[in-house]
């Protein structure tokens, strides 16, 4: 049905591991080559950890599926090396409009403050994201991506996992120090472990229809209708994707028969009622889905870790599925790498569960509230919802209650045991546990952004000016930090360009607009320590290598 995209077929290739008499041992095996599993594979490879990725299929996602990618995901993808490709292909959008019955009642602009490299959101079909990640993995020797490899059994051992795998040429076994399940909402690995995921199933069905039409018909905005005249009064969502494809989501109610609704003639009738008789369109892809909000109690079970939908699942309103899944891998990759390199205790992995459980609960709360607003559960809730929408035509307070999906923002791990609490007053949002904000900088005279200069390693930010230049002794300390067993690579942030000699691993960022210092509430002397996933470990008002070392120890579970 899909005309705008040619699905690649990736070959099954026999691995030498299949010919080994005894199971070969690998540091990390990832189950599932979706966006989450592949993001984790790339991230681990950047930390120099060899990875085997097993997928039971041999192509990318059939259907557009996750289409909304938020700013934080794009920043992570920049670190992984596919952010720019996603930006080039994706549709950037900032405006959302809400309609009630026949009228527009509300419009919002997602555009975050200026001076960020990435926008609030782009829309892009999931198959492009997967294709870009497969191609990125092709550059990385540490990743061994095996198509048509299905995990059929697993056995937890004291120091690893024994996997039985089926292939077109028969079964084989592998041992892994760690297995990471990134195999989606109906995780086969979770089932093999005998583990559940519990929460709330919503009694509702939605139809996704991706249609191809004239790009002049609708602008690149997110339009949401409550009680529209064209769809028996049930919610409808319109979103633009690349290739002149529009995503239309129709609320069908619980009584709808999914088999009837999937018939092209019935889909076409719904789309026709929505677009009008005179608009030409072609159906690209359709799916009828139900949804639930649920999660596992723990994302780590011995040597098996869970990420993405396998660990937690949300309703689609608010773009929290793929976005939060990639934030899981952003959190997990560096921790797993340090544990495997014996630079951190295995208990560091428990902080993955703690930090990402908190994020999952935030996402589930937001997503459940959106779902309750979009599909009221009884007459009184419907009356309340419609009253909000009616009042929102004229009264500002009601507009802030209109909830067609609170769009995904990254979690702040404010209570994490990896943080070091402030001992000096700071203003602003860059608290310990927060993901780093962005801002324009110049690197070697070239315009760039702060986040491009951070990540993969621990980074210190040290704010200086020409009255407070680091002296030779300071430079020797920075050189030592950059080359120690667990390096801390310092970024000196100065309002003006400075002609100074810097040791290897240390870089000067010129904060020529002063935006970075303002966002970090920094003055000369202020320092921050950042984790490899760009979250703040701790900060202080005067650069102190001993405090920084202690902060790093705390952030690595020591």
């Amino acid at each position: 049905m899909i005309k705008t995209y040619a699905f690649p077929t990736y070959p099954y290739v026999r691995s030498a591991d299949q010919d080994s008499a005894a199971p070969v041992r690998r540091p990390v095996v990832i189950g599932g080559a979706g966006p989450i599993g592949m993001a984790l594979a790339v991230d681990l490879a950047l930390h120099d950890i060899p990875v085997v990725v097993l997928d039971d299929n041999n192509t990318v996602s059939v259907g557009s599926r996750a289409v909304c990618y938020a700013k934080r995901l794009l920043e992570i993808m920049d670190r992984l090396g596919v952010g720019e490709r996603m930006m080039q292909k994706g549709v950037t959008w900032n405006v959302g409009k809400v309609f009630f019955e026949d009228d527009q009642v509300y419009s919002f602009n997602m555009l975050p403050e200026s001076h960020h490299r990435r926008p609030g959101f782009i829309n892009l079909q999931q198959y492009y994201v997967e294709q870009y990640l497969v191609e990125r993995i092709g550059d990385l020797e540490q990743v061994d991506l095996r198509w048509k490899n299905k995990i059929t059994a697993l056995e937890q051992q004291d120091d690893g996992v024994l996997l039985s795998i089926d292939t077109p040429e028969g079964p084989y076994q592998l041992e892994a120090d760690y297995l990471v399940a990134c195999d989606g909402a109906n995780s086969g690995i979770r089932a093999l472990c005998g583990l559940g995921s519990s929460g709330q199933v919503f009694q509702d069905r939605f139809l996704i229809a991706d249609v191809l039409m004239d790009p002049k018909r609708f602008p690149p905005e997110r339009w949401f209708w409550f009680n529209p005249p064209f769809h028996n009064g049930q919610s409808t969502l319109l979103h633009r994707q690349p290739d002149n494809v529009w995503r239309i989501d129709f609320d069908l109610g619980w009584e709808a028969d999914p088999e009837e609704e999937k018939k092209p003639e019935n889909i076409n009738a719904r789309v026709r009622a929505f677009l009008g008789e005179d608009v030409e369109f072609e159906l690209e892809w359709a799916s009828v889905y139900t949804f639930c909000c649920r999660r596992m109690d723990d994302f780590r079970h011995g040597r098996v870790l869970f990420a993405g939908d396998a660990a937690h699942q949300v309703s689609p309103f608010g773009a929290r599925g793929a976005n939060s899944g990639v934030q899981d891998t952003d959190n997990l990759a560096w921790k797993l790498a340090l544990v495997l390199k014996r630079q951190a205790p295995a208990a560091l992995l428990d902080s993955y569960t703690r930090e990402r459980l908190q994020a999952a609960d935030e996402n589930i709360l937001n997503s459940t509230r959106s779902t309750d607003f979009i599909t009221p559960k009884n007459d009184a809730s419907r009356a309340l919802r419609d009253a909000v929408l009616n009042l929102s035509r004229r009264y500002a307070f009601a507009r802030s209650m209109v909830n067609s999906g609170r769009l995904s923002l990254p979690s702040v791990y404010a209570d994490s045991s990896l943080n070091t609490a402030d001992t000096e007053p700071f203003a602003g949002s860059m608290v310990p546990g927060a993901p780093s904000t962005d801002g324009p900088v110049q690197r070697n005279g070239q315009d760039d952004y702060l986040l491009s200069a951070l990540g993969n390693d621990f980074n210190a930010l040290w704010f200086i000016d020409h009255a407070s230049l680091p002296d030779a002794a300071d430079m020797a300390i920075l050189a030592q930090l950059a080359t120690q067993a667990l390096p801390i690579k310092t970024r000196l942030v100065s309002p003006v360009a400075l002609d100074i000699q810097l040791p290897a691993g240390v870089e000067l960022l010129v904060d020529h607009l002063g935006v970075v210092a303002e966002r970090f509430d920094a003055r000369p002397g202020t320092f921050y320590l950042m984790r490899p996933d760009q979250h703040v470990c701790g900060r202080g008002r005067s650069f102190d290598p001993l405090r920084i070392q202690t902060m790093q120890g705390t952030a690595t579970g020591h």
């Binding site: 007459d379 009356a383 309340l384 009253a387 009042l391």
Partner: protein
């Protein structure tokens, strides 16, 4: 912490009660539900204190007659 006022706080309580009964005059039950919802939203926003609103919501659900009893009364 501000508390929900449960002693009389109205100059003329009968006036407020009359305002509410006037509100429903000649409305169908579904319209009454709509008006009630709007009124709740407007008042809640004006009060603006989640502790006060949560206390009012808690009291509002106290001692509710069982659903079956309600159905008989209607």
């Amino acid at each position: 912490m501000p508390q929900l006022i449960t002693d009389n706080n109205l100059a003329v309580p009968d006036d407020y009660y009359a305002l509410l009964t006037e509100l429903y005059r000649e409305l169908e039950p579904a319209q009454c539900q709509d008006v009630n919802a709007r009124l709740l939203l407007l008042l809640g926003n004006h009060i603006g204190d989640m502790d006060v609103l949560a206390e009012a919501a808690r009291i509002a659900r106290e001692h509710l007659p069982a659903a079956s009893t309600l159905a008989k009364d209607i």
